[in-house]
């Protein structure tokens, strides 16, 4: 496993070079091994598609015994050692998160666009989008925004050349081969096909977001009435 510096206070552990489930599992395993016990001088760990980035404080590393002219080498050795002998961990099993979505209409202004490029009817797009199993590869971009793998190939739709200034929270979008859910009102270039009444970002809760890397996601169709009811009840 290659470890590359990212500036003077982070190291990037390169686990693979393609986006797939196998790489995802290896990222998760490496991340969990490193997170199981705090390493000296290390702050947070950020997993992504093919990497785990390890943030550290050079000053703290030196306090913990790193030689001043070899801080990174000292940390790299610690990381390798930990990865070779991971502490005993409970087998990780992601949860399955059920996501109710009201497709089309004002909630999914790009459903027709996705349908047109897929040469499918909007109903067929919805059917295929809900039938697939999705994997949360990583959370990023905005608080709780899940980058989901598993979108059926035929639904892949290029991003808008000009992103929308504001995408409403809960919007379910397709960006190229990815699908995801916007947690907050943010600018965004993905094709919006529907909206969920679920709150993705919950700053008052622990953890503060609905999904985590490694979770499975399943979309399910709801009517505008159900949407209104769920939104009012949350």
């Amino acid at each position: 496993m290659q470890i590359t510096p990212l500036g003077d206070n982070a190291l990037v552990l390169e686990v693979g070079d393609v986006i797939d489930e196998r790489t995802h599992r290896r990222v998760q395993a490496a991340w969990r091994a490193l997170a199981a016990e705090v390493l000296p001088g290390v702050g947070e760990l950020v997993p992504a598609y093919t990497t785990v980035t390890v943030f550290y404080d050079p000053w703290q590393a030196v306090q913990a015994g790193a030689p001043e002219n070899g801080i990174a080498d000292w940390l790299v050795a610690k990381l390798h050692e930990r990865l070779k002998n991971p502490p005993k961990m409970e087998k990780f099993k992601g949860r399955t998160v059920d996501v109710p979505v009201c497709y089309g209409g004002e909630f999914g202004p790009d459903l027709a666009r996705v349908a047109a490029q897929a040469r499918l009817s909007p109903e067929e797009v919805i059917q295929r989008h809900t039938k697939a199993d999705y994997l949360v590869h990583l959370i990023g971009f905005a608080p709780g925004f899940p980058y989901l793998g598993g979108l059926p190939k035929e639904l892949e739709t290029p991003r808008h050349a000009k992103p929308r200034m504001v995408v409403p929270p809960g919007s379910v979008g397709i960006g190229g081969g990815q699908t995801g859910i916007y947690p907050l009102a943010t600018p965004g270039g993905w094709n919006l096909i529907g909206r969920t009444p679920l709150r993705i970002f919950r700053p008052e809760e622990t953890p503060p977001v609905l999904m985590a890397a490694g979770d499975q996601v399943k979309f399910r169709v709801i009517t505008p009435e159900e949407f209104a009811r769920l939104e009012a009840g949350r």
Binding site: T4, P5, L6, G7, D8, N9, A10, V12, D17, I19, G43, E44, L45, V46, P47, A48, Y49, T50, T51, T53, F55, P58, W59, V62, E68, N69, G70, I71, A72, L138, I139, G140, F141, A142, P143, G144, F145, Y147, P183, L184, T186, F201, P203, P207, P208, V209, A212, A213
Partner: protein, 329 residues
């Protein structure tokens, strides 16, 4: 209690940020120049992570309900205590009801104001930093507006002693100053040290040479997330998309247009643009002070040298900390 009479252009409550939640897509944020914030906190006897006010371009007008000790530093702002100039980089005694007013930044962009005891806003996910996009943290999740009142925490023993000493001598401010820009081994003006980034090899040799020899200008496209620079076009050798990965404050990423963006603490947690370089932590504060049109160049350094710079600055700050602790006896 702090009363906000005028908010300034963009004044927010910030501490050293909200680390630990990047895996959930939550930005670290915090004072854009953490070292500057730590320094003003140190001057008033606060912990490093106490919440301060960060101001940008035009500062706020404030008054304090009780006599208190404050300190400010960063860009050169017009600053007054009543009708007198407000000294910077040192502890200043402000009487109850007196007005502290900041005007325009004369040079640079941002400054940090610490109050003994720190600004007391609720902790959200372990931090008092304002996270504007998510509408959380700081004061009600937003920049200050006129009419806001902010609570302050309990000043340290040390702060009380300094305040009492100033009071007794009928003095406004301490004679000593602490200036973060002199600590460690500062780069010459207009120079910022940087290391090669993980995707350095993705760029053509000409682009690699240009990166470290060109004069880069700051553009108007600058905020708490990053600063876009303009200069020679950085052409890539390797085409194709990069797989999104974590980014860090100081990372220099290059979108397709070939113009670099230097990321600041409120950056997103992951990014998908090739990272040609990374600015050393000790020099990142420079980017929080650039105005549109200001020019700078990057000087290449190694990881070991970057760590030397980092440690030198921490050592100096610790020396000051020890010295100040002795002051109050």
């Amino acid at each position: 209690m702090i009363h906000v009479h005028k908010p300034g252009l963009l004044t927010t409550v910030q501490d050293l940020g909200r680390p630990g939640y990047q895996q959930y897509g939550i930005v670290v944020g915090g004072a854009l120049d953490g070292f500057a914030a730590r320094t003003v906190n140190l001057i008033v006897g606060n912990d490093d992570n106490a919440a301060v006010l960060e101001m940008a371009q035009t500062g706020p007008e404030l008054s304090f309900e009780r006599e208190t000790l404050i300190a400010w530093g960063g860009a050169n702002f017009e600053a007054h205590l009543g009708s007198e100039p407000l000294p910077r980089d040192r502890a200043v005694r402000v009487a109850a009801g007196e007005t502290v007013s900041f005007g325009l930044a004369v040079t640079g962009m941002r400054a940090w104001l610490a109050v003994a005891g720190g600004v007391d806003v609720p902790l959200v996910m372990g931090s008092r930093s304002t996270y504007r996009r998510a509408g959380i943290g700081g004061h009600q999740g937003r920049p200050l507006v006129a009419g806001d009142t902010l609570k302050t925490g309990t000043p340290s023993e040390w702060a009380w002693k300094i305040l009492a000493a100033l009071h007794q001598d009928a003095k406004r401010a301490t004679a000593w100053t602490v200036r973060p820009e002199t600590m460690g081994r500062p780069a010459p003006a207009g120079v910022v040290r940087a290391m090669r980034g993980p995707e350095w090899d993705w760029f053509k040799v000409e682009a690699q040479l240009d990166f470290f020899r060109a004069n880069w200008q700051a553009t108007r496209e600058a905020d708490r997330m990053g600063v876009r620079l303009t200069g020679p076009m950085l052409v890539r050798e390797k085409v194709g998309d990069m797989i999104s990965s974590a980014v860090n404050a100081g990372v220099v990423q290059v979108p397709a247009a070939g113009q670099p963006i230097v990321l600041l603490p409120s950056r997103q947690s992951v990014g998908g643009y090739p990272r040609i370089a990374a600015v050393v932590a000790a020099d990142l504060g420079r980017f929080t002070q650039l105005r549109p049109g200001d020019s700078m160049r990057f000087e290449e350094t190694t990881l070991v040298s970057a760590h030397e710079l980092y440690l030198a600055r921490e050592r100096d700050l610790n020396r000051v900390r020890t010295g100040l602790a002795r002051l109050a006896g």
